[in-house]
């Protein structure tokens, strides 16, 4: 059930595609809808500016017991920063940090959100707040060109801890460059009081170079698609929570960590070595905290809150318990606890002795033999034309699909080409005269003058060797050689392969 206010706000969220600028008269026409007409009950709410903090800090708890209109000003900055010692990266950030500024509001608050894209930005950005109820979570409403600013309003309907992130194409790249953060919507009764609160977020980085390779690294889309990050990090850089930058607590204190995963892809197995979470709010839902959890699973684009009392002094390592990420890719942070020892709870090392276990079994050979057999069967299928080969008719049919997807734009459906621009294939003396040359032309492309049926053409055909497989080229040529009055034998993929591999 929605009250009228919520309808109004939903209307603002439903707004159309290009809400980029707030209505600002001096900047010409705006396609923004203009500020939402808030009802008097909302207008009467006290207005406050949200306090934003960079990680690992969290804004102070909300003390008020009433709703407010909260103004959030978040700036998008593209900045070069340190990914690891000697390794630089151009981070795309909300507020200059990875993760972005922590936003803290209260259930029922009406949030006037301003996204300001710094003039030095190369790209447009936007924000999808998982705390928003409405299409895109604010993404369409905040799509903002460099040097511009967007505004939209939403009401925080559901309490909890939510991820926000950029949703501009290509989304994985924007997130992969650091565009994520957390927004906490406190329940009306507030979060239970606690001694220390911290903000930690995990995200992975797909750099062109391997882990530790020095210099300014760029984003590698191939690695992102394969989900092979070079870095998996807490708070955006190796060592962001280590040494002097470790988070701290004193013996006897209760600690709460607001932990989120920006991704773009990986799920985290969040664990603090040597601690048991007294309480975990699974998936950051507030209703049923779990007690006594060792490791909690946090999905990409999700969050959790963990609480624990620190009883024993020392350094506690926070990890993604998918451990090569922690030890080889950087997903590691520290909590330093100061105070007096309690050897009843934790004694320290008491005894050091030698232990001889049984030798590990050697693996059997049977698996190896099975694999060899499978290879043999596969090779047999491949070499038997009755099974693997295509009849000419099938090739023509398949080739037609290739042609209609790729070739017809220039050579036309009827194979007659475009006079003055693209040569015909139907009855083409040039093409029919030399089958190998035809294969070569498809593979390597062609530029410069060519005379077909007495007419000279001078245009460019792009090479298809990176686009089409040998089989597809064989099929499309078989189609072309057997259409529009042309006749010819089928092409085989081996013929194509031979030309593909020929030396110049």
């Amino acid at each position: 059930m929605k009250n009228p206010t919520q309808y109004l706000i939903s209307a603002a969220l439903l707004c159309a595609a290009f809400l980029v600028l707030p209505a600002r008269a001096s900047e010409g026409p705006s396609d923004a809808k203009g500020p939402v007409v808030l009802p008097p009950t909302v207008l009467a709410l006290p207005v406050e500016q949200a306090i934003l903090t960079s990680p690992p800090h969290v804004p102070p708890p909300i003390k008020r017991n009433y709703s407010a209109r909260v103004i959030v000003n978040l700036e998008v900055l593209e900045v070069v920063g340190k990914l690891a010692d000697g390794v630089e990266y151009t981070f795309w950030t909300y507020g200059g940090s990875v993760p972005g500024s922590f936003i803290r509001i209260r259930e029922g608050d009406v949030v006037e959100f301003h996204l300001n894209n710094h003039p030095s930005s190369k790209l447009p950005h936007n924000i999808d707040l998982h705390a928003v109820t409405g299409p895109g979570g604010g993404a369409t409403s905040t799509f903002t060109a460099p040097g511009h600013s967007s505004q939209f309003t939403f009401q925080a309907l559901n309490p909890g801890l939510y991820v926000y992130h950029c949703a501009t194409a290509p989304v994985p790249m924007h997130i992969g460059n650091g565009m994520y953060g957390l927004i906490l919507v406190e329940p009306k009764g507030g979060m239970p009081p606690i001694d220390k609160e911290y903000y930690v977020m995990q995200g992975e980085f797909y750099t062109s170079g391997r882990y530790g390779e020095e210099g300014l690294q760029s984003f590698d889309m191939g690695k992102a698609i394969d989900e092979h990050p070079a870095y998996v990090l807490f708070n955006g850089s190796v060592g962001s929570l280590v040494g002097d930058k470790a988070i701290t607590a004193n013996v006897g204190e209760h600690v709460r960590i607001y932990f989120g995963v920006g991704g773009p892809n990986l799920t985290s197995s969040f664990h603090v070595i040597g601690e048991i979470f007294d309480r975990v709010y699974p998936e950051a839902g507030l209703s049923l905290p779990n007690a006594n959890v060792q490791t909690t699973l946090v999905p990409s684009g999700g969050a959790t809150m963990v609480e624990f009392k620190v009883d024993v002094p020392g350094t506690y390592i926070m990890v993604d318990h998918s451990l090569t990420r922690a030890f080889n890719k950087g997903a590691l942070g520290m909590l330093k606890v100061n105070g007096a020892e309690d050897r009843v709870i934790y004694s320290g090392k008491e005894i050091d002795a030698v232990y001889l276990g049984a030798q590990a079994e050697a693996g059997s050979d049977s698996a190896k033999r099975e694999a060899e057999l499978k290879q043999k069967i596969l090779a047999e299928i491949r070499s038997n034309p009755a099974i693997a080969g295509l009849t000419k008719e099938m090739q023509v049919e398949k080739g037609k699909q290739v042609y209609m997807g790729l070739c017809f734009a220039c050579h036309q459906m009827d194979g007659k080409g475009l006079p003055g621009a693209f040569p015909p294939l139907a009855g083409s003396d040039y093409m029919l005269a030399d089958r190998d040359r035809a294969i070569r032309t498809v593979l390597k492309g062609m530029t410069g003058p060519v005379t077909v049926n007495g007419v000279t053409f001078n245009s460019a055909m792009p090479p298809q060797e990176a686009v089409l497989t040998d089989a597809q080229i064989a099929d499309v040529l078989t189609y072309v050689y057997n259409s529009w009055g042309n006749t010819g034998d089928a092409f085989t993929r081996d013929q194509v392969k031979a030309i593909r591999n020929e030396q110049h």
């Binding site: 290009f18 799509f143 060109a145 460099p146 989304v171 790729l406 621009a421």
Partner: protein, 274 residues
């Protein structure tokens, strides 16, 4: 590909001649521009749209055309605003250029230290770029034309696997916009002889407002009919080509009066009819 060098030289020569012709026919005194306004011939080819509807062809044939060999420089734009006071920073209507138009220039008619004369002009709106092109007897390239020209590598027609080009492009993408842009001459020419299509600045295209993404890029596979008439895109053909996505996203975020610190332009022209 043995014909390549000769072909390319021919194209360049033709382009140069054409550039001179155009300037001679220009409607204003632009003597200083002649050497800079060289154009190159982009041969006919195919453009593969990044996003298309189910009914659209996978490839679009593009007729050959001429394209400026390099982006328009501050010096060239200075000549333009000198001749056309309406487009000076202090006089332009906010409808046609937002408040950061030429903001890096020292004054109306003085680019100054942050805008070296031979660096590409940026912080120009689409309306301003269009007016410039019109004054030069040219036009802005279409998306298809621009992408076709920029699809070439340094050494061949197809830049997709040109490692050197991709390295330069991605290195550029990985860096923030420098406070002062480099001279256009520092960019390496591509196969067509055009410099700086990648790795210098983004560039306006004439039909930038055909980029029909909503900012909610995840939903663009089915644009809401209430927002956009017509069938939505069926999505991208080459999801790995993220540089193209970034250009698409940038175009769709812009309005005609917008200017940014990394957005310039160059002009195109039809081939003379024979």
């Amino acid at each position: 590909m043995s014909t390549t060098p000769a072909f390319r030289l021919g194209a360049l020569a033709l382009g140069l001649l054409a550039g001179v012709e155009l300037c001679a026919a220009g409607i204003e005194n632009r003597e200083s521009k002649i050497e800079n306004s060289a154009m190159v011939l982009i041969p006919a080819g195919v453009y593969v749209p990044l996003q298309r509807t189910a009914k659209d062809p996978a490839q679009v044939a593009v007729a050959s055309f001429r394209l400026d060999a390099q982006p328009v420089t501050n010096a060239e734009f200075l000549a333009f605003v000198t001749a056309h006071p309406k487009w000076r920073r202090s006089q332009v209507s906010r409808l046609f250029a937002d408040s950061s138009y030429l903001e890096n220039w020292a004054s109306d008619l003085e680019p100054g230290p942050k805008a070296p004369l031979n660096a590409p002009v940026v912080r120009v709106s689409w309306f301003a770029a269009r007016a410039y092109a019109r004054a030069a007897g040219k036009r802005l390239p279409t998306t298809a034309e621009w992408e076709l020209a920029a699809g070439a590598g340094y050494t061949g027609l197809d830049g997709r696997n040109d490692e050197a080009l991709n390295r330069d492009l991605y290195a550029w993408l990985a860096r923030p916009v420098p406070a002062v842009l480099a001279d256009v001459g520092t960019a390496k020419p591509n196969f067509h002889g055009a410099r700086g299509l990648h790795g210098l600045v983004w560039e306006w295209v004439d039909d930038f407002n055909t980029a029909m993404v909503t900012g909610e890029s995840r939903g663009d596979s089915g644009l809401e009919r209430d927002l956009f008439c017509g069938s939505g895109s069926i999505g991208a053909n080459d999801t790995g080509n993220y540089a193209a996505f970034m250009r698409q996203a940038l175009r769709s975020s812009l309005k005609g009066n917008n200017t940014t610190t990394s957005l310039g332009f160059r002009c195109a022209a039809d081939l003379p009819t024979r």
